[in-house]
């Protein structure tokens, strides 16, 4: 395993009442966009939470940029961004205040300029004095993306980011993610919308019954057969 891998996961296991992940290993050596798919309850959300440090693995370890998540937590966390289906912004604060709070939390230098730029990117400049509670689902998700990117992370975890988004917001999100990706960021994403996932990804990972059963570059799979039934496809090609 490369010392300077962006993400290195060594045999992590996690059990709730029953085992969810069993000795899963994964390595991401170069900046890329990873699409993690699996049926409900396969363990993809758990996997993402383990990577982001929201959950502690029962065994195994996670390294991000060569640093152990458990030991050098503060350094690692400052490199991570996370988007989930919950917006993770405060409904009673305005768009601007929300971003300002998270920018302060991460100690972002040149806060105001950074926020102004972000608001432009996600198209929320006109709404910056509105409370988050009055934003529509799509606008809220855009704010959530801006929130995740405020400290210019190097790795972005996106758990079901497309849920409940309309076309415009989906386009914004896709554009943000590919822009992030083109600037050398790494994206790890789960979604139920397989075709959407395939559109954004460089590499596909299928999780089933607590383990990775397929891990391949996007060019090495047959997209239509994959989209049709990826579990079946993964089992056949394994």
């Amino acid at each position: 395993m490369a010392e300077n891998a962006i993400i290195a996961v060594n045999e992590v296991s996690k059990a709730f009442t029953r085992p969810v992940l069993k000795k899963v290993s994964l390595s991401v050596d170069t900046p890329q966009s990873l699409f993690v798919c699996g049926i409900n309850g396969a363990g993809k959300s758990t996997f993402l939470k383990l990577l982001a440090g929201l959950l502690q693995p029962d065994s195994g370890s996670v390294f991000i940029k060569g640093k152990c998540l458990r030991k050098e937590t503060e350094y690692v966390k400052s490199k991570l961004g996370i988007i989930m289906h919950q917006s993770m912004v405060y409904p009673d604060l305005t768009v601007l205040e929300n971003l300002d709070f998270f920018a302060r939390l991460y100690g972002v230098p040149g806060r105001q300029e950074r926020i102004r730029l972000l608001l432009e990117q996600v198209g929320l400049t006109a709404f910056r004095y509105d409370k988050a509670s009055v934003l529509s689902r799509g606008l809220l998700q855009r704010l959530s993306i801006a929130r995740a990117m405020v400290h210019e992370p190097e790795v972005m975890f996106a758990d079901e980011p497309f849920t409940g988004l309309d076309m415009t917001s989906t386009d914004y999100l896709t554009a943000m993610l590919s822009d992030f990706r083109s600037r050398g960021g790494t994206v790890i994403m789960t979604t139920h919308d397989v075709s959407q996932g395939l559109r954004c990804a460089d590499r596909v990972v299928v999780i089933d019954q607590g383990g990775i059963i397929l891990d391949r570059g996007i060019s090495q799979i047959d997209p239509s057969r994959f989209a049709n039934d990826y579990v079946q496809y993964a089992r056949e090609s394994a």
């Binding site: 400052s78 917006s87 604060l93 205040e97 998270f102 939390l105 100690g107 409370k131």
Partner: protein
Amino acid sequence: MNYFLQSLKSVFVKDVLIELRSRQVLPTMIVQGMLIVWVLRIASEAVSSAVTVVGPVALWIAFIFSGLLAQERSFAAEHDEGCINGLIVAPIDEGTIYLAKLLVNVVMLSVYELVLTPIVMLAFKLTLSGNIGLFILVLMLGNIGISSVGTLFSAVVQLTRTRGSLLSILVLAILAPMMVPATFALLILFNVIPPELAGTGALAFVGTLKTAISYMAVFDIVFVTACWLLFGFVVKE
């Protein structure tokens, strides 16, 4: 150190801002406190000699129960939109989150105390005989004690269906020991117990104002430290 203060301040300012925006908690707390005091006042009317004794008890009961309202909200707001996850993935120490929340709850309870204490004193015909500085010290020590445990367990009860009621039994069970010296201190400061009798065997209580205050200070130090150290374990998923 610098980052610690900066992150402490940003979480604190954010929470105060949210409370100022929504104006949900403090008015409810004050009305609840007034109701508690009022009910105890009319109930104690039957025996007029008991009125002044019930006063300090009413004060602490009101502080505890209204404090619960503030504490419960302090993490409910984080769980509504999953914001707590946003805090956990940020490079902020969990202990700092605890301290910021504790500070918010202490400030809210202080504002509440400012309103409610005169009401209690009027209702129960209490006059302050002791040093006002000591009086404020006793109220603040009680305030910190009440908030310390409540803030920790507030993060816990968000995962339960019973939330507020579970929080109340957790907090009451842990706070029970502090209530004896806390009430005793107020009884002396309000001159319900004559100061010259304090510390003698003639009363149901033995001890002096000084020992009561030092007990409360020790209680606060022990529980704030313990909660601060243990907070990381309860907040992580």
